[in-house]
């Protein structure tokens, strides 16, 4: 479904992503893990089309993708952002936010689509005419997910979708994403610094360090504690330590 070959991204003299290659099969949930500044978000912004300055090759559904994207691409690939407080227009109601993609792509049945999108993310019609400041963080992130899914994409890019939320809400949103993936047959790429989140949702993952992928493995391999690269082992140990300290696992 997604194939990335020898991707390089530079900001001035800084190489944010260097020679990254990976493939994601249709229906996969692929996790990108690494600490802050390792280039995982940059990688996602390249895939989504927000960052046009890269070299290498990207193929999506067998089609080569350039720096500039067309409308057909945006119907196929959508993104959910990290900060639910910044990703909704402060002066637009939920209704307006969801109506916008429908208007851009000239789709029919706007009313029904908006109602269904809200239902799908568990918000219902009560929230339709609220402004973002009348919603909680979790509700905003649900609206952002609804906005991404209203164009019925086949690929959803998730940039730390839960890291700005309360721990109790995180699981809800992750379960929602898992449910929507099954219902809609989505391919997901999840970027996170949190190994527990990735292990909860994904079936395959890649560990990034300093702009490069150091190891790719399945989540099962991770669960059995078999990462081979020292950096992945360190990450795993750090996340286990956190869990023991917090007493959640």
């Amino acid at each position: 479904m997604i194939s990335v070959r020898h991707l390089d991204v530079s900001f001035g003299n800084v190489r944010a992503v260097s020679d990254v290659s990976f493939t994601v099969a249709a229906g996969d949930i692929f996790g990108l893990v690494g600490e802050s500044g390792c280039g995982k978000s940059t990688l996602l912004r390249v895939l989504s089309g927000l960052n046009p300055h890269w070299t290498g090759s990207i193929e999506i559904a067998g089609r080569a993708i350039g720096p500039m994207r067309d409308k057909a691409f945006y119907r196929q690939v959508q993104m959910v952002f990290q900060d639910p407080f910044g990703s909704l227009h402060p002066r637009h109601t939920v209704d307006r936010t969801l109506a916008e993609p429908i208007a851009i792509h000239g789709l029919d049945n706007a009313e029904a689509r908006i109602a269904r999108a809200l239902d799908d993310v568990g918000l219902g019609p009560r929230f339709r005419f609220r402004y973002p400041h009348q919603l909680s963080g979790g509700q905003r992130q649900r609206v952002a997910i609804a906005r991404a899914l209203i164009l019925e994409p086949s690929i959803l890019l998730l940039d730390e979708p839960t890291s700005a939320l309360d721990v109790s809400i995180q699981a809800e949103v992750l379960n929602l994403l898992a449910r929507l993936r099954t219902a809609r047959d989505l391919t997901l790429i999840l970027v996170s610094h949190n190994l527990a989140v990735v292990a909860h949702l994904c079936n395959r993952l890649a560990v990034m360090q300093g702009g490069a992928i150091v190891e790719e493995m399945t989540v099962d391999a991770l669960r059995h504690g078999e990462p081979s690269h020292p950096y992945s082992r360190e990450l795993l140990r750090a996340s286990l330590g956190y869990h023991r300290a917090a007493g959640t696992s």
Binding site: L50, D70, F73, F129, H133, L151
Partner: protein
């Protein structure tokens, strides 16, 4: 519940059921916060009074503003002529009432010319960036390097005196401030996630600028316009005072002060009355603008 209470509950409802209700509800909350600032309410009252006076000038005036009567020239204020008469025996009160039309007309004309243009140019420059931004901003630099009245004077001198040319001259000097303001606002929001999200839906640049960026800049432009109205009134009066704005015999406030200047020591009311009118009008708009800026601040949620 009384009807007012039902309406109030409908307006502040936590779960609006229609687009209209959501919009009206937000306006109502903004009105509540505006109402809490009594200076702003006073400014709004002054502005409304000015508008009513301008519309109802023929009803409010006691005399024909152009009617001369040399027998009663330079009379002090009395029961027949509330603000006295000028050097040609014209009733100053009636002239000030009719002058409201000229002043407000100029202000409205300038604002209609300037605010949308500055907003669109500024948002486009800020959002598109690159060479377009650089060229537009250098143009605003050129205009802003001159004191406003001096530049307006130069334009009027070139175009010839008159109200229309005065409006054009003031508009030419006023737009750069709006372009700079909306550009600065645009730069602050262009990299936010909600703009990126709309880009990722495939929105065109025009749609982004007009539908998503400009509405966020609009509130500060509105506040700035209201604050600027006093400046426009003063510039218009300044042009009139220098004989480059409205031409006699039209009752423009600045021109009235200019003729009253000759008698200011013996017949103080000829220059003072239009001066008070200019003062009240510009102060009213200034207070209104201050209040609007507090209410419309987009950083508040």
């Amino acid at each position: 519940m009384s009807r007012a209470a039902i309406l109030r509950a409908w307006l502040v409802a936590d779960t609006p059921t229609s687009r209209r209700q959501a919009r009206l509800g937000r306006l109502y909350l903004q009105w509540l916060s505006f109402r809490g600032n009594w200076l702003a309410v006073a400014g709004l009252a002054v502005s409304l009074v000015l508008i009513i006076v301008a519309i109802a000038a023929p009803l409010l005036a006691t005399h024909d503003p152009a009617a001369q009567n040399l027998d009663i020239r330079l009379r002090p204020p009395d029961a027949a002529h509330w603000f006295g008469t000028d050097e040609l025996g014209r009733d100053i009160y009636s002239r000030i009432v009719y002058g409201t039309r000229i002043t407000l007309g100029m202000v409205v004309a300038v604002v209609i010319l300037v605010a949308p243009f500055g907003l669109v140019v500024g948002c486009a420059a800020g959002y598109i960036g690159g060479w377009f931004d650089r060229i537009v901003m250098r143009f605003t630099d050129i205009f802003m390097a001159f004191p406003r009245l001096i530049l307006a004077l130069a334009f009027v001198a070139a175009l010839g005196p008159g109200i229309e040319n005065g409006v054009i001259a003031i508009a030419l000097t006023a737009w750069p401030a709006y372009a700079r303001l909306s550009r600065a606002e645009t730069l602050a929001i262009r990299n936010s996630d909600f703009i990126a999200a709309v880009r990722l839906q495939g929105a065109s640049t025009g749609r982004l600028i007009f539908g998503h960026v400009a509405p966020l800049c609009l509130s500060s432009v509105i506040a700035r316009v209201t604050l600027d109205m006093s400046g426009i009134i003063l510039t218009a009066a300044g042009l009139g005072f220098l004989g480059l704005g409205a031409t006699p015999p039209s009752p423009e406030w600045g021109a009235m002060i200019s003729t009253g200047r000759r008698f200011i020591l013996e017949q103080w009311w000829v220059a003072t009355m239009p001066g008070i009118a200019i003062f009240v009008a510009s102060l009213g708009f200034n207070l209104l603008g201050d209040g609007l800026r507090d209410v419309l601040d987009p950083k508040q949620t």
